[in-house]
Symmetry: D2
Subunit: 353 residues, 4 copies
């Protein structure tokens, strides 16, 4: 931490800062410049936060230097992690040694529609099924999902296809029922900073897919992952799904740079959701290709057997030739950038654990 | 709703859109242009949403025309509302015929600190006390608030000062205990799109202070208010607290234009939080002046008897000469822009209701 | 300047940074932390920039501490400046001891329209006339202004009304002709980073109105002012006119906080353009009130005798009751916030200089 | 164009809109809804703009439907264009049938440094040399480029290497001298809306590389290209270089979605600049891979023989193993996504034209 004094700070002001830092067991290194003095702090950063250094007389600014997250940081855990999703004997890896393709309908509407979408997904090479039973919607008048009935449909389709299931959770009170039916719990973009929910999934015993808040910085996103990790759950997969910018041509702007940035600072796996980022079907395939090429650990996309009748986000669901193009990209492109492809996932399964 | 066809759409494509619209009981008016055809839809907008018009062949774009919110709209409720906060006999109005000054500590730390801050606030003219018992913090390692013990402190200070209390709620499971101790429940910026929480406070029987999501559009904010209203609670006060932009000089950018924009479209009262918008003490007084001048129905600010030791947001808490300058602005400026000032609030209290 | 080393930096890496800093005559103070080392630099910041410290092995980050602008900074010029606009004997001040009201048509269309708009402006209390002869337009198919013919109309209206004229310049090749006809040259939002144009007006001998780039940070804006000042022209008035954000309800978001932020760091006067920020007529009066209350040194607004036929930005031009409301605010509100009002400007004119 | 009337608009208000539209030769189709009336306009959109429909009584909103650009649109020119850069006999294509690799130093500093950087670039597979002689810098105290001396160095290196040269132009007065020395003129991000400069390069007879304004929407960017095209120059290559967002981890956010979005609406080629988008050397290779995979027509990157001594943007310049990784990606990845690679460019050269 570095404290920058204002040009008119007095020697007493500087001494007061030093005294307070030393009072909580820290060390303070003073560098007197021609115009300004800066003070470098060494010690426990949490104790410095309580000093409210910005309120002290003569202090112009305080810069934090080190990362505020610990458990999800690569600093003390340099190897990138793999998260295994699914029941013993049928686990699918998400991490640096695989490329994982997750697909399914935005919302579970009926057993038939979900089963049909799962079959489409599986034929295209997907190994994890996505599907929403609880839907957070901007309008109270929009379809909010089937709830527990939707979870039961998903569990049935998992039984039939062998695909592990990831589904969204929107309320801390639903953790038990969702964890019972699903293999992975998804925190959606609107709940990334819902700290009670983060803590609840931190104790659920299942892996978590943590979507980036559409207006969260990468640091805030990693802090949200830290909330989950702090409750003992390190099986967190991050999902970049676009950020809010001034550009209206896409629903959000896919922050493709976030993938290498996260991989440089955190050991957690990171995947990309091109469907929700763009909100446009015609961009899903090119953005999936970009995600693979930039080094993402997987993609998650919407498929629907009949987008015209979908109750949620129909305009972005893939089918037909688009889905075939995506299947081909997922099969071939990871190898072209030096990564094990989705086609090799079967052999990548961890036996019996 | 207006459907814009792409230049290469065929007559069949147009006919298919018309047919689907009429299939749900709507009317479709076709305007054939030189390059494009547009179709104006008349009828129940919710039924049109289910048609997924964007997925139909030949459709280039769909524009929504009317507002998506109903209960909070000024369209069928042209008079601006007043929300009354506090117990019978001690209610304070927030609305067009008053200017309400809310102040208190960011976080409740001790009974003494809270009582001291309340006295400072009251001396400066504040009529509602703010104070946080449950604190949503970006870092799991930061002070998270005293919880129920904090609520009890607030209730005690209310007893001593006669000031109604507003406090934040962060978890739907806490609605009963918070509603029991406080006079108004605050939804913070990070929870504006926590729809379960919005629905929970919709049934709590107390007024709600709904802060704008720091990256929410005004329309999304009003949709969040609609969630609360839909559960039967129309006593919602909106609070503009800054939006996230590229400008680093302030923590967020206070969207001062949002006040007249909201007042033109919704009947709900709207106040301003300059402390959290700026994150800088030196901007609180000028921004409060701007809020009064633009026509806001109130301000809510942080005060703390000793910012240097505050456990939360110390750098933005007011005291001393700044607080006196704010008190003076709140006393004089509302009248200068044609509004009843905080000084007249006592006589504005609704008796016995 | 502070150099932050990465956790795995070696002692040699640190020594290399120190050596390079000392090689250009600077001093380097090393603070060794538990996890990281930080190095505080003291000396000539420009010479440090050439070191490319970020490229050195072991360097994680470099923080600049002091402001990058000098001539426009308040650091060595603590008193706020007043800029005088107009010919000797008829100068109008813009600065801390006045509140200046600038108004006129967005674009000069005809002599009649300009004269009529000037009369409206003057009746409402405006003391400087605005009007565009060269219009930068997003579309090459839109009206681009009358050019020199427009400048001549403005000069004629100035003659008739006695109001000094401010008009936009968009091309460095036009500096002489614009400076000949106008009393103040405006740099528009799209040209704030057109460095050649900034340098050209730096030598023109007339005051400059520098609008903020709609996506410029305050620091970049002050750097643009520094470009003008560096060529010897310190008569620069800044104009906040809204920044680009995600909020679609207004054309841009007026950054009202920018006024006190600028006034704390620069001695230059700063005014507000509510017409272009909002792009909506109904917000001009409330935003002008907010500008006065926050402490701006003036406002600049569009007026047009017949907005329905305006060739540019008709929807935001004031007339009738709106203009009367604005006139009243400009007359009364500056006094209510402790400032000399527009009504006192006549006596504020500097005689004969 | 669609005009949306407000709920309280009268029949007279609607009739007045219709009358004005018909007055300029347009047709107006009225759709009366339960709450609102909408009016679809058919005819010449430019003539409608002059009507200032938004200012008419009863008008709530006006939606533009068709694209505002014509010459650069794919609507009447469905085949994607190829732009040829370089002198007859040595032309390099940029377009759908090639993948073009452009590299060189950010700034031309000396003949040796430029020649050395060009050799590095060429060894890595680059076929066009970039290098800045005129540098637009945020600070007036930063290195501004060598000017004409820099152009002469570039011309010399072109002679020696056979690589066509692209260089930035910042002032309309320099068009002739730059066009004389360079094969392609670059408009930088800060000048994208410098309409005088756009018009000047529209008449220069050389291809133009038009960078996206860091805060420009895609539509504004295409309008800027339209300015150039309107002056008769259709040899425009677009360059996505990152947009300004709230994310601080990268200098700007590379808008990777912009590539397929532009390709769907405009026939112009589009390339990507990962160096300036990220501002970080470690992201250049992954972002280049993403650019290739998403379907970009080329990349432009900074290389420097000694980044530690670079006078401009040293931290983002490639060398050594990074440059080899980029060379490999450029050689192999275009083929993997179904595109002709850089390695085949030689045979792609247009003979004798």
């Amino acid at each position: 931490m570095v404290v920058v004094m204002s040009p008119d700070a007095t020697d007493e002001d500087v001494a007061h800062v030093v005294e307070r830092v030393e009072g909580v067991g820290g060390e303070a290194f003073v560098s007197k410049g021609v115009v300004r003095t800066i003070i470098g702090l060494v010690g426990d950063i949490e104790s410095f936060h309580h000093l409210n250094l910005r309120t002290l007389r003569g202090v112009a600014d305080v810069h934090r230097i080190s990362d505020p997250y610990k458990l999800v940081s690569r600093q003390h855990h340099s190897e990138r992690s793999t998260v295994w999703v699914g029941p013993p004997g049928g686990q699918v890896p998400v991490g640096p040694d695989a490329f994982t393709f997750i697909a399914g309908p935005c919302a579970v509407e009926t057993a038939d529609q979900t089963f049909e979408a799962a079959r489409m997904a599986q034929s295209a090479g997907a190994t994890i099924l996505r599907g929403g039973a609880f839907k957070p919607r901007t309008s109270p008048y929009a379809f909010q999902g089937l709830g527990v009935a939707g979870l039961e449909i998903l569990a049935g389709v998992r039984e039939a296809t062998g695909m592990p299931v990831v589904t969204e959770i929107v309320d801390a009170r639903d953790v038990d029922v969702v964890a019972e039916h699903a293999d992975m719990l998804q925190i959606g973009t609107r709940n990334m900073a819902n700290f009670g929910l983060l803590q609840a999934v931190g104790g659920c015993g299942k892996p978590v897919l943590l979507k980036r808040g559409m207006t969260a910085t990468i640091e805030e996103w990693l802090m949200a992952a830290e909330y989950i990790a702090q409750r003992g759950n390190l099986d967190v997969v991050l999902c970049e799904r676009g950020i809010r910018t001034f550009e209206p041509a896409t629903r959000n702007t896919l922050d493709i740079s976030a993938i290498p940035v996260v991989q440089a600072t955190s050991h957690l796996p990171i995947i990309v959701d091109p469907s929700h980022a763009a909100g446009r079907k015609d961009l899903v395939v090119p953005l999936s290709r970009a995600a693979i090429a930039v080094g993402a650990d997987g993609v998650i996309v919407d498929v629907h057997p009949d987008p015209e009748t979908a109750l949620c986000d129909g305009p972005q669901a893939l089918l037909g030739s688009d889905l075939r193009a995506l299947a081909q990209a997922v099969r071939r492109l990871p190898g072209a950038v030096g990564r094990v492809g989705a086609g090799d996932l079967a052999t990548g399964r961890r036996s019996g654990s």
